[in-house]
């Protein structure tokens, strides 16, 4: 495939105005699926189950099976709609979206079409530069997820060139809320960052509501990004592309940026954009064309005859509204005050999309300062190196545990970094790794004193200097002791003891 020509980003912005639209799918973490009483793999309790072990006749579309709506999924959807500032439809209904695909058991998806449960909302999104953007929401509707295909044969595991595919229907029927924005104007050069920050805000909202695990790397949160350009001064919107398969926050930003640069290069040459679905490739940082929009998109929607209208009472809506957590912006202000961070420190965390992680880490027992240090320091470094989101590497509970082990003197910072690597590698919790690797700091003074006495005895000149008051000479002894202890000693304590023994 020929590599697409790209225009310089700033140049593209000079010539064109970018207009973006975002579709975010949120997998709800209910115990069971949207229309089937089978366990929901988007709930952590069932994540990673063996293929086709979380299925009922409904998930497999077996002849005769019928869907029944999960009441909790409806409540979660209403809560999410309210948190997005949407109106909740007094009556909404499900519709069938008909198309054939082997991961879609019934060959129709139960979704909502002309009557979504929530519509017309707005979400405040804050950018790094402090700019606050109101992203307009068109609608949020309930639907079901499809199964998972694994392509076998061929070289890449991709669909092209595969010899056959394997189907796992565990994910079929997982409850989804699809949130669709209206076209977003005026973001200009911030458009790529806004896209990322918007999805990050949706994640914060979903997590604060407790309705989704919201882990992008697990597909709990998925984003399709629509991008179009129009020449400066033009009224009419340009032709848009829809980029799918954007599975991390960094990719969202990169994908939007890439599409702006790609489309600008084509338009500047007098070419035209094909209205199509494009796929994001994490490895190459590019998008490639999928199928063009065509007659095959005739989804033949009609009201789902097996299901009845969803007519939430005003009481229910008010009950759910009253239970909403504070909006993200207010929430941030409160956290900043509680944690005592400077503007810069707080921005640093917020821009990394790690507010929720920090909050959870503090909740799990770490000090705010320690939590910030780990997440924006070592974890961010590891994430960068791995090309992944920090939140996907480690869970807040483990970070808190690590910070507490350092506070208790069990680990030095250096040892703690080793333990963190173990946690990221999936070796277990920090405490388990400390136990397994025998990494704990030697806090038994007896063992330290023995090592110190030996070091002092072997370096009588150093001992003499210390006794003469040249305390800095102790460094040589401390180094020798740390070496003897294989680094598993608290250097401060060693220093104390060295001085004590030297005087003795």
């Amino acid at each position: 495939m020929a590599r697409a020509e790209l225009m310089d980003f700033d140049k593209a912005l000079e010539l064109f105005e970018p207009v973006i639209g975002l579709e975010v799918h949120v997998e709800l973490n209910t115990t069971t699926k949207m229309f089937s009483p089978a366990p929901n793999p988007a709930n952590s309790a069932y994540h990673g189950a063996e293929p086709n072990t979380l299925v009922s006749p409904v998930c497999l579309g077996l002849p005769g099976s019928l869907p029944v709506v999960n009441g909790d999924a409806v409540r979660s959807s209403i809560s999410l709609g309210l948190a997005l500032g949407c109106s909740i439809a007094p009556s909404s209904r499900f519709a069938r979206k008909n198309y054939f695909y082997p991961d879609l058991a019934k060959n129709y998806q139960i979704s909502q079409y002309d009557e979504p449960i929530a519509f017309e909302g707005s979400v405040q999104v804050e950018l790094v530069n402090g700019r606050v953007f109101d992203v307009p929401i068109e609608r949020a509707h309930m639907e079901e997820d499809a199964g998972k295909l694994t392509h076998v044969g061929g070289s890449t595991g991709r669909i092209q060139g595969a010899e056959y595919s394997l189907v796992d229907y565990n994910r079929a029927g997982v409850p989804l809320v699809e949130i669709v924005t209206k076209p977003i104007f005026g973001a200009e050069a911030d458009a790529p960052e806004l896209a990322k920050a918007y999805v990050s805000t949706i994640r914060d909202i979903a997590l604060s509501l407790g309705i989704s695990e919201a882990r992008m790397e697990r597909g709990n949160l998925r984003c399709d990004a629509n991008v179009s350009l129009r020449p400066r001064g033009a009224e009419q919107l340009g032709i848009r592309t829809e980029t799918k398969n954007v599975n991390s926050f960094r990719s969202i930003e990169r994908a939007v940026r890439y599409e702006i640069q790609r489309q600008a290069a084509i338009l500047a040459k007098g070419g035209s954009i094909t209205q199509e679905t494009r796929h994001w490739h994490e490895d190459t940082g590019t998008t490639s064309p999928g199928r063009p929009k065509s007659d095959a998109d005739d989804y033949r929607y009609f009201p789902e005859p097996d299901l009845l209208p969803v007519v939430p009472s005003a009481e229910l809506i008010e009950e759910l509204r009253a239970a909403l957590p504070e909006p993200p912006a207010a929430h941030r202000r409160r956290l900043k005050a509680e944690w005592g961070f400077t503007d810069l420190e707080f921005q640093d965390v917020a821009n990394s999309g790690l507010l929720v992680e920090l909050e959870e880490t503090v909740k799990a027992g770490a000090t705010p300062a320690a939590a910030r240090k780990w997440w924006t320091g070592e974890i961010a470094r590891l994430a960068n190196a791995a090309g992944q989101d920090a939140a996907s590497l480690v869970i807040p509970e483990h970070v808190a545990e690590l910070a507490q082990l350092v506070d208790a003197g069990t680990l030095t910072d250096r040892l703690a970094r080793q333990v963190l690597e173990g946690v990221v590698a999936g070796e277990g919790s920090p405490q388990q790794i400390v136990d397994a690797r025998g990494l704990a700091v030697v806090s038994d003074d007896g063992a330290l004193i023995a090592a110190i006495d030996e070091a002092l005895a072997s370096q009588p000149d150093v001992l003499a200097k210390i006794r003469d008051g040249k305390v800095q000479a102790a460094g040589a002894v401390i180094g020798a002791v740390m070496k003897a202890m294989h680094g598993k000693a608290d250097a401060a304590r060693v220093r104390e003891l060295v001085l004590e023994r030297a005087q003795g």
Partner: protein, 511 residues
């Protein structure tokens, strides 16, 4: 003895079983023997579960011997339309695409029937995916009408109706989307009931048109239908459209049947042109009998019924085109791979080409068209509006009368092949039965006699408001008593003796 057993009503057989005069194993064996003797000619069954039925029967006998409290139909055999999925028994819905498929679960009506101690004998033949009025669209060959083996037994549930008419089973389960229980009852001299939409769970019924389908009883007597109705009706949390309220006993409605003061409305639009003379004659004689018992007969008009067939043949194909999309060769059923392999798209298309019969393809294409972009409002949308108008006709009529009456179908049983080449004339067969499905109201077809011109059975249909199924059993029960008193016994007593027919055929070497 065994011939006596198969001719008993389910109620009487149940009573004998309860009294210990006969065992369920004996009753089951008698019916299996009957199937062996006559089903070669009738072909009501697609699958006979002989061994399994006898085991089930023995288990019921054991429970009875242990003193368990059993229901009135415990130990009574029953035939199950192949549209209902059955654990351990093949379920094909009359289609090649599901040949040999054994579901991992039971349909709710089947579960209820098993829990009530009934003994499933096997699965009955039907038009493929219940699309048809003659069983000629079954992928496994047609069922023959026990009254005349050259004629259709009605459809789609011709197998269930014929099994009951041929004394192969005292009871059967059917499904009715536009008349598939009532029209076969009409042409085979049996009783068939389409309950209120939502009265019987659709869970496990292989969907044809989800907003029209309803499961119901197929029997020889009104009381038997009521007893079976009482077993299968009731709320099912697995079917969202299942009505949550509880139901009065239909059997009680039959036992207390009384039509004095009952207002019966004759639907003007279903009592004239296009209806065979003998069909109309028996219809009016039945009404006269009811009038003599104190019923009040009035004429009512349902002006939008004439649009019913048009609306039905848009709604049904539209819903069916979507419901039948699941037959794609991936998780169950047939897989046909084109020569030299192919992509999954090609395998799906080849499978569906080979696995579906012509009528199913016709309706899928029709439904796909009716739902496609740009046509929805004109077709599907308009059909749903007609549905509203038909409901309003019913509402207006039921303000004047307690039940409505019409002939169940325009003609007696036609000969095989007579209407196959002309789908539209086949569709017209459902003119009297379709309005009930569009509106969700219950209907019953009760034998009204034989048409003088051809000696073939004729049925009369009664319709009641939604949730008022008991009214059907009331009026049906009275009419059955009155007619049997006139005839000197059940109508089916005058049906040809199939065992003799078989014997003759064998002697003549025709087999």
């Amino acid at each position: 003895m065994s011939d006596d057993l198969i001719r008993l009503s389910a109620a009487d057989l149940g009573a004998k079983l309860a009294a210990g005069e006969v065992s369920s194993v004996e009753a089951t064996r008698a019916h299996l023997d009957r199937i062996a003797a006559v089903d070669g000619a009738v072909h009501a069954f697609l699958h006979v579960a002989g061994e399994h039925a006898l085991e089930t029967a023995a288990a019921v006998d054991a429970k009875r011997a242990a003193g368990d409290k059993l229901g009135p139909l415990a130990g009574v055999p029953i035939a199950v339309k192949d549209v209902l999925v059955t654990k351990g028994m093949p379920s094909t819905s009359g289609s090649r695409i599901l040949e040999g498929w054994i579901p991992p679960y039971d349909a709710t009506p089947v579960t209820k029937v098993r829990e009530a101690g009934l003994v499933p004998l096997g699965k009955t033949n039907m038009d493929e995916f219940a699309m048809g009025s003659s069983t000629e669209h079954s992928a496994y060959g047609p069922t023959h009408n026990p009254w005349d083996l050259e004629r259709i037994p009605g459809g789609s549930g011709g197998g269930s109706a014929a099994s009951v008419a041929a004394f192969e089973a005292p009871l059967a389960l059917g499904s009715d989307t536009g008349g598939s229980i009532r029209q076969p009852a009409h042409v085979t001299g049996t009783v068939g009931v389409k309950p209120t939409y939502g009265a019987v769970s659709r869970y496990g019924s292989i969907a044809l048109a989800s907003s029209l389908d309803q499961i119901g009883p197929v029997t020889r007597t009104v009381l038997d239908a009521a007893l079976l109705h009482d077993v299968i009706a009731g709320h099912d949390p697995l079917d969202s459209t299942s009505i949550p309220e509880s139901w009065p006993s239909m059997a009680e409605a039959v036992r207390r049947a009384d039509v004095s003061g009952l207002r019966i409305g004759v639907i003007k639009e279903l009592d004239g042109e296009g209806f065979q003379a003998g069909v109309r004659q028996r219809f009016h004689e039945s009404l006269d009998l009811l009038a003599k018992q104190g019923a009040e007969i009035v004429e009512v008009s349902a002006p939008h019924f004439e649009y019913s067939i048009a609306a039905y043949y848009l709604i049904l194909p539209a819903e069916a085109s979507s419901n039948l999309a699941k037959f794609d060769s991936v998780r169950f059923g047939l897989r046909v791979t084109p020569d030299g392999g192919g992509t999954v798209e090609q395998v799906m298309a080849a499978t569906r080409e080979a696995g579906f019969g012509p009528e199913v393809k016709r309706r899928i294409i029709l439904g796909t068209y009716a739902l496609s972009a740009g046509y929805y409002d004109a077709y599907y949308g308009s059909a749903q509006k007609v549905r509203t108008l038909v409901q309003r006709d019913f509402d207006a009529a039921f303000e004047q009368v307690d039940v409505l009456a019409s002939p169940t179908a325009p003609t007696t049983a036609f000969k095989f092949g007579e209407k196959l080449a002309d789908p539209l004339s086949m569709y017209l067969n459902d003119i009297a039965t379709i309005p009930a499905n569009l509106a969700g109201v219950p209907g019953i077809s009760v034998p009204a006699g034989l048409a003088p011109e051809d000696g073939l059975p004729v049925g009369i249909q009664f319709l009641a408001p939604a949730r008022e199924d008991a009214r059907l059993y009331n009026v049906g029960g009275v009419l059955e008593q009155l007619l049997e008193a006139e005839w000197g016994g059940p109508l089916l007593a005058s049906a040809p003796d199939l065992s003799t027919h078989e014997l003759t055929a064998t002697e003549e070497g025709a087999l």
